[in-house]
Subunit: 354 residues, 2 copies
């Protein structure tokens, strides 16, 4: 009997090896490791990260934070509580755990302050700075220091430092050395500006899995948040951050059609693996077959993935189960309600939803 | 108090208007209307489609079919039951409802036959034919007739006709007339081959929302399955199939950052709207703001969407709630566990999952 597919399969032993590797790296370089839980959305996996040495957890959604509060007493909400719902829920969390919040606007800080005061709690604040990605974060050290000062003046908030996400830096390109030097200069300028303003900076939090193993080359940071590293994915491997063997999460899929020559169709489509491109020209497709990296999923419908067989002699048969390594595992995980763990347990992806 | 975002919002009155429009069109052209439920994954929305005149429902996953069996006694599983799990669950369904199955391989037909015989049930079969999309479906009328004959010989199966999905034909291009003529020739050749083989063809099932209003120009079909038309989406509007006012599903999002000039960041990213491209050069981005089609979501992270404000004087403020129209609503719906309906009810997207 083949299992129902598509299904998300988690290799817990590999998860533990990945956690240990990151923990050792962080410890060797004097960095705190606060993994982002967006990748797994599971308190069970988070528990393994904490056991391996994580100093706390990073969350994007309030749902993630509320679930993780059941297993961890030190959370960073890396998302601004700009609306009433987030501010209220963040304040409630601050009554239960040591809460940090990363934000980039006075409006968010003020709203959070009001919500914290209402429940008699406090939160530490990291001012988010744009390190070049141009997504969120204030621009430059002058604005960062101005917001930090404003935060210091608000009740319930304790300025703790700065945070940024260098999502624009990819390891696949040749400019990584220059980007790391730019990030170092950026952090040191931030520190100098804060010092000049008399602000005490305890934390400078940075995080991305593509840059994971080179984080220590960014001068002045205190913490890394890399999330994807718990599972790794095709992007990680093609970016040189991991090997195929390091990949701890797979999407199991069944070959449902071989009617069109030169390809095989599996039952994992956009609704199972997402439509995340490889970046930096590292290759084509949205996933590949585990053990057969030369077989990419080149086209997707909602419930169909098309395997390109042009670079292989392998001819999968109807009903055969294959394991896929998605380009971006965080998005694939979000497609599933449950994960099939290697110890036989079926666990909910419990921090899905809002 | 602003609502928690991102959230999926359904306008039930517009759903009903869309259902009525498709039902009238189908009736006017003597076509059965069997909408694909992948778009909404909700028995409540399906019930409205049936009330408007749908002759039955189309499903891709067994989960969809099992949920829809609670509100409809005539289902088409438009996905091959090539594995044990699907075959067994399809056979169980065939004991409860009139079940049709679309398949493109003898292996699927044989497996389904065995499963049906085991429970003493029968199913009608549509042989899936590739109409040019090169995803699934046997190639051409000779193979189709051969598979139809094989199906006829298998216990538990009743050959009922053919099905195809013309997903390769987009209305944005100028070649639609020629494509419709090709599809007509394709269907007539199928019918002629089946006639010559002495096979009775009751059903020829076709479906895509881009071609919806021109379905009657495809000679010889009996049924349409358009799913997206229940909600429509940005692709539908830019493809000329619907107006912005026809869009019945929106993703509500909150502006969480305006720190980077020229843009605003909302809390709907890949995990809320998907990363589905517009096809056929119809435009850029992954969604647009309702009422402001000139404001696209041009970049996505997992929980961030970046609104490009270069074509508007509108400057949304932090905390403002905007309504987004995703490129592909079926994928956005799959990102949510619940939908906020216009009658105030919060309904589960109950046929998510497997």
């Amino acid at each position: 009997m083949t299992p129902p597919t598509p299904a998300l399969e988690i290799d817990l032993a590999q998860v533990d090896r990945n956690c240990t590797a990151v923990a050792r790296y962080a410890a060797a370089h004097g960095l705190a490791w606060r993994p982002h839980v967006k990748t797994h959305k599971s308190s069970r996996i988070a528990t393994r990260q904490l056991a391996a040495g994580a100093s706390g957890l990073t969350c994007a959604t309030l749902r993630e934070a509320e679930v993780m509060a059941t297993v961890c007493d030190d959370l960073l909400l890396a998302y601004p509580p700009v609306d009433d719902d987030r501010a209220r829920r963040a304040a409630d969390l601050a009554t239960q755990v040591r809460l940090g919040v990363m934000l980039d606007s006075l409006a968010s800080a003020e709203r959070l302050s009001v919500a914290l005061v209402a429940v008699g709690a406090t939160a530490r604040v990291l001012v988010e700075v744009d390190a070049g990605m141009r997504r969120t974060g204030v621009a430059g050290e002058a604005e960062a220091v101005a917001l930090a000062r404003a935060v210091t003046a608000l009740p319930g908030l304790a300025f703790d430092g700065f945070g940024f996400y260098p999502g624009h830096v990819r390891t696949a390109g040749s400019e990584v050395d220059a980007e790391l030097a730019r990030l170092s200069a950026f952090v040191l300028a931030l520190r100098a500006a804060a010092d000049a303003a008399g602000l005490e900076v305890r934390t400078i939090s940075c995080g991305s899995t593509p840059l994971l193993w080179r984080s220590h080359e960014i001068a002045g940071i205190t913490e890394i948040r890399a999330g994807t590293a718990v599972y790794f994915d095709r992007t990680s491997v093609l970016g040189g951050v991991a090997t195929w063997e390091d990949c701890a999460a797979h999407v199991m899929a069944t070959v449902v059609s071989t009617a069109v020559p030169g390809q095989a169709v599996v039952d994992a489509g956009v609704k199972a693996i997402g439509r995340e491109p490889l970046r930096g020209g590292a290759g084509e497709g949205f996933a590949c077959v585990a053990g057969r990296p030369e077989v990419p999923v080149v086209r997707l419908s909602e419930e169909h993935g098309v395997l390109d067989l042009s670079q292989t002699d392998w001819r999968p048969v109807l009903g055969e189960v294959v394991r896929l390594i998605p380009n971006h595992i965080c998005v694939a995980v979000h497609c599933f309600d449950v994960m099939m763990c290697s110890d036989g347990e079926v666990e909910r992806v419990e921090a899905r939803g809002r």
